[in-house]
């Protein structure tokens, strides 16, 4: 048993639901107790979908348990096929139904419904949402692309895009951005799946020369299978960030047999604003700001590259909740000289953030709340997200426009440079002080502002250092977003030198010792 106050991922059947809801012509019959229909809200509320997700739940109750829940399931399948007339039926069990062992797959085969049935076996007590989505997509691709034979003459520039889903972080606009980018590069995008695809579209997957995996957690298994079975190569560079997008284009062009793009200068000019914005002197103050990054593996790794190479921030922590991608993340973290954090325990993530003392947190909805508590600026870069991260406006993360969106949304929570300077010079302004500075992150009065450093220090229990009154007062003059780091560095310095108590002198000695 595991104590959980917050979970980064839902159960695997929610992943399956995301595949069904992404596609057209697919219906999912889910053997589940009354109440599990809450998952509809994820689609109708958070994503603001205008139609019900194509899911029929058996919604059995206690009184059904004494009878035959298998019959309830079979009736639900027949009714769903009759009512919705899908091209394919997905069948599976939720965690409770898994315990009943009704075997939805076996039952559905005995039904003799007129449509192909794809049974799902999703171990709810071992696996989670993304795995469930990946597995479901793989099963669908196998079922519909399996029997096809590849045409003999396939245009080299034809490709499919695999991975975008309903409820995926910014998938809607990423697809638009990447399809546009690819067509500008002379590529011919055939099928985008699962988002917007029908079972018939999946059967056409083999008619393209190669696949592009935009979201490995969803489409990796399917792409590997297509490679093994139909010999289709795939690209899995994720085009998030300028560097990554350029790598992506180069890789795709190579695979499509196109000549490399023109020289770097023309390639860059006008395609994005991030490059210039990050170079403009106004961004100078971003240099070496400490950033903690957490999310799904794809977005976290991409964010680290952007942060360090394109914005000039310093990665002080990198992690993911997806164990499936632990290896990739560890490799990336090693490149930045930080320890990788692979955990789905948000308390552990919170502890790591406190220990890393970042000036900016890039994370999920969850890290937003941790950061809020610690009064550290934060931007959301990955699912799980809430309703505000399904915006009305065009907001890709991928490609060149994605980079522009990223520049704005990451820099926004940081205090503007001038504001930062003035705060440091004149600390006693009654309106424009630490409290006022934090107020654009969340509303509260200056009185309510606790010292961020104190919050942080209180949270780490090894805090045995003794500060003189004057030193504490001097520490307060350090801007609040680096105060935590200053405190820790000074204490570290004092401990190694055996200094006790910490005076104003020690504070400045430590400052000189560590530089910034």
């Amino acid at each position: 048993m595991k104590l959980s106050m917050w979970t980064y991922e839902g159960p695997p059947h929610v992943g399956a639901m995301r595949i069904a809801a992404s596609m057209t012509g697919v219906h999912y019959v889910l053997h589940a107790p009354q109440g599990d229909t809450y998952a509809d809200l994820l689609f109708t509320m958070i994503e603001r979908r205008p139609s019900r997700p194509p899911v029929t739940y058996t919604t059995f109750q206690a009184r059904d348990l004494s009878g035959s829940t298998a019959d309830v399931f079979k009736t639900a399948c027949r009714d769903a096929v009759a009512r919705f007339q899908p091209q394919a039926l997905l069948v599976g069990a939720s965690c409770t139904a898994e315990l009943l062992q009704d075997d939805p797959g076996g039952l559905a085969r005995t039904l003799d419904v007129s449509v192909p049935v794809v049974p799902l076996d999703l171990p709810s007590y071992q696996k989670k949402e993304n795995w469930g989505a990946g597995e479901t997509f793989y099963r669908m691709v196998r079922t519909f692309a399996g029997p096809t034979t590849r045409p003999t003459d396939i245009a080299a520039n034809s490709c499919n895009i695999l991975g975008p889903t309903s409820l995926g972080f910014r998938c809607r606009d990423d697809v638009t951005e990447i399809v546009r980018l690819l067509s500008e590069e002379g590529l011919d995008v055939r099928v985008v799946a699962p988002l917007g695809a029908s079972p018939a579209d999946l059967a056409r997957l083999t008619e393209a020369a190669f696949n592009i995996v935009l979201y490995p957690e969803i489409a990796d298994a399917a792409a590997r299978w297509l490679k093994k079975t139909h010999g289709m190569p795939f690209v899995s560079t994720i085009p998030i960030g300028i560097g990554a997008t350029e790598d992506f284009i180069a890789e795709v062009r190579a695979l499509a047999g196109l000549a490399p793009s023109d020289d770097e200068a023309t390639q860059r000019s006008g395609r994005d604003r991030l490059t210039w914005y990050a170079r403009s002197v106004d961004s100078n103050y971003l240099t070496n700001k400490r950033v903690f990054i957490f999310g799904d593996a794809t977005h976290a790794i991409a964010a680290a590259r952007i942060a360090s190479q394109e914005l000039g921030l310093r990665v002080c922590g990198l992690g993911t909740y997806m164990r499936e991608f632990a290896r990739e993340l560890r490799e990336a973290a090693a490149g930045y000289g930080v320890d990788a954090l692979v955990s789905d325990d948000h308390l552990e993530v919170e502890a790591a953030i406190i220990a890393a003392r970042p000036e900016l947190v890039l994370g999920t909805q969850m890290e937003r709340h941790i950061a809020k508590r610690l009064r550290v600026p934060c931007a959301v870069i990955s699912a799980p997200v809430h309703v505000q991260d399904f915006p009305a406006r065009y907001s890709p993360q991928m490609g060149f426009e994605g980079a522009n969106v990223i520049f704005d949304s990451w820099v926004h929570p940081l205090m503007m440079g001038l504001e930062e300077h003035l705060l440091q010079m004149f600390r006693d302004d009654f309106e424009f002080n630490d409290g006022a500075a934090a107020s654009h992150l969340h509303p509260h009065t200056a009185d309510a502002v606790e010292d961020a450093a104190a919050v942080v220090a209180a949270a780490t229990e090894d805090d045995t250092a003794v500060w003189t009154f004057d030193a504490e007062k001097e520490l307060k003059k350090v801007p609040f977003f680096v105060r935590g780091k200053a405190r820790r560095n000074t204490e570290l310095f004092a401990a190694t030198k055996g200094i006790r108590p910490i005076t104003v002198e020690t504070l400045y000695d430590a400052k000189a010792h560590f530089a910034r």
């Binding site: 048993m1 104590l3 839902g10 998952a39 139609s51 919604t59 109750q61 809430h386």
Partner: protein
């Protein structure tokens, strides 16, 4: 813990508006775990620990939405493969989780173990676990258990089971004070509770206990003279538990709207022999205010045809309010469960011919609703946006569980909740639906 669905109660109904449509099919409703979202805010010394699966944890955080991080007093003990495979002793595992939790939250005085579908299907006995943990942590902390599973409970029934467990547990607490004269059962917003307290005081009533109170550990003493009244209509199991301890019910309709609140207070006053003139003088002013506040919204709802999908069991009471006080026409009242004895008064105030449905077959009910072309559909969030996308106007029903709606001072707010989508539709389209429908 595994309380049976309250089905055994008497069904002698004097007035039957029309035959009940009984539905068995897909239920588009929440499970009882959802009640924790408001219960944990109300009962400030309690922590709700769901023993369930990742699905249960996911439901809790999806339903709690943006609120989840303001240090919630609930969590899930997620069962894992090794628990089910019998490799781990579930009771030992639970003990460890509880120990870790209470260490983190030393302020918690009552731990509530909440059963879920998975824990019930594998017959994990939480009542026994609670007994054992209680013995270990008493007297500093109490541990009780109830079921919030989807297979046993629908939405607000989770609160019902919690209150029933609280009432049952009170027997172990030594009588701290003299028996309560009146128990007001059903979770109310603090502001509503305070308003009712003032009204009771003005009526000269004393020794009144609200269930749940703001502190779970406050003892509840029930004697042979204790009367109870329901402030919420979904409390079948709680009523049974109170009666098992000797309390007697005061029959009343729900305190929604001016009329509803008047009738509710009237029933209480009558039960305690309050002079009718005194009652009249106490409620005259607030009743007038309620009437005045509702006036603003009546034009929006008068004559409007309203269809209510099942959600919370509040539906018959809401329908009564909409019809009697705002002049709306009721097309269908759905309720996940009809506790006929408790809602007889509400149904009697609805005109004959109103369709009453119990349970759900959601696709069929959607067909019926589309057919009826109502002006306003009261339904859950899973249906609301899809209906809106069809050009229909909806009011999402979960809000009735999260908003102060009872009592005189909230009568206007309640009307506003129904009027708002209609007002909004007019603002965004510049037309009312009626005009739109006209050729």
């Amino acid at each position: 813990m595994n309380q049976p669905l309250p089905s055994a109660c008497a069904t002698t109904l004097s007035v039957t508006p029309s035959a009940t449509i009984r539905q068995r099919g897909q239920h588009e409703v929440f499970c009882g775990l959802t009640s924790i979202i408001w219960l944990h805010r109300k009962v400030q010394d309690a922590f709700f620990l769901v023993v369930g699966s990742r699905t249960c944890a996911h439901l809790m955080q999806s339903a709690a939405g943006v609120m989840i991080f303001s240090e919630p007093r609930f969590a899930t003990a997620i069962m894992e493969e090794r628990d089910l495979a019998g490799m781990a002793d579930m009771h030992d595992e639970l003990d460890q989780v509880v120990a870790r939790l209470l260490e983190r939250r030393p302020d918690i005085r009552m731990l509530v173990l909440v059963g879920s579908c998975p824990s019930e299907v594998i017959k994990f006995d939480l009542t026994r676990a609670a007994g054992r943990l209680n013995a270990h942590y008493a007297p500093r902390r109490r541990v009780i258990a109830y079921s919030g599973s989807g297979i046993e409970t629908t939405f607000t029934q989770g609160e019902d089971n919690f209150l029933a467990a609280l009432v049952a547990d009170q027997t172990t607490v030594p009588a701290a004070r003299s028996a309560a004269k009146l128990v007001v059962a059903g979770c109310l917003a603090d502001v509503v509770e305070d308003q009712f307290s003032r009204l009771f005081a003005a009526l000269g009533l004393q020794d009144i206990v609200f269930l749940p109170g703001r502190k779970a550990i406050d003892g509840l003493t029930i004697g042979p003279d204790t009367r109870y009244v329901l402030a919420q209509p979904y409390l079948g199991a709680t009523a049974t538990a109170l009666e098992a301890r000797g309390a007697q019910r005061i029959d009343a309709i729900s305190p929604l709207g001016g009329e509803g609140t008047t009738a509710w207070l009237g029933a209480i006053a009558h039960a305690f022999g309050v002079n009718p003139a005194r009652l009249e003088s106490v409620i005259a002013q607030p009743r007038k205010r309620a009437e005045q506040a509702m006036q603003h919204y009546r034009p929006w709802l008068d004559g409007k045809r309203i269809f209510l999908f099942p959600d919370s069991q509040l539906e018959p009471s809401l329908a009564r309010y909409l019809h009697q006080e705002l002049g709306a026409e009721i097309v269908e009242v759905g309720s996940p469960y009809l506790h006929r004895e408790h809602i007889a008064g509400e149904l009697a105030l609805l005109p004959p011919g109103v369709a009453i449905s119990e349970g759900q077959d959601v696709d069929v009910q959607i067909d019926r609703c589309r057919q009826a072309q109502p002006d306003l559909i009261v339904c859950g969030l899973g249906l609301a946006n899809p209906f809106e996308a069809e050009g229909r106007i909806t009011k999402w029903s979960i809000e009735f569980a999260f908003t102060p709606i009872q009592g005189f001072e909230q009568a206007g707010d309640l009307a506003e909740l129904f009027a708002r989508p209609l007002v909004r539709h007019r603002m965004l389209t510049g037309r009312s639906r009626h005009q739109e429908a006209a050729p």
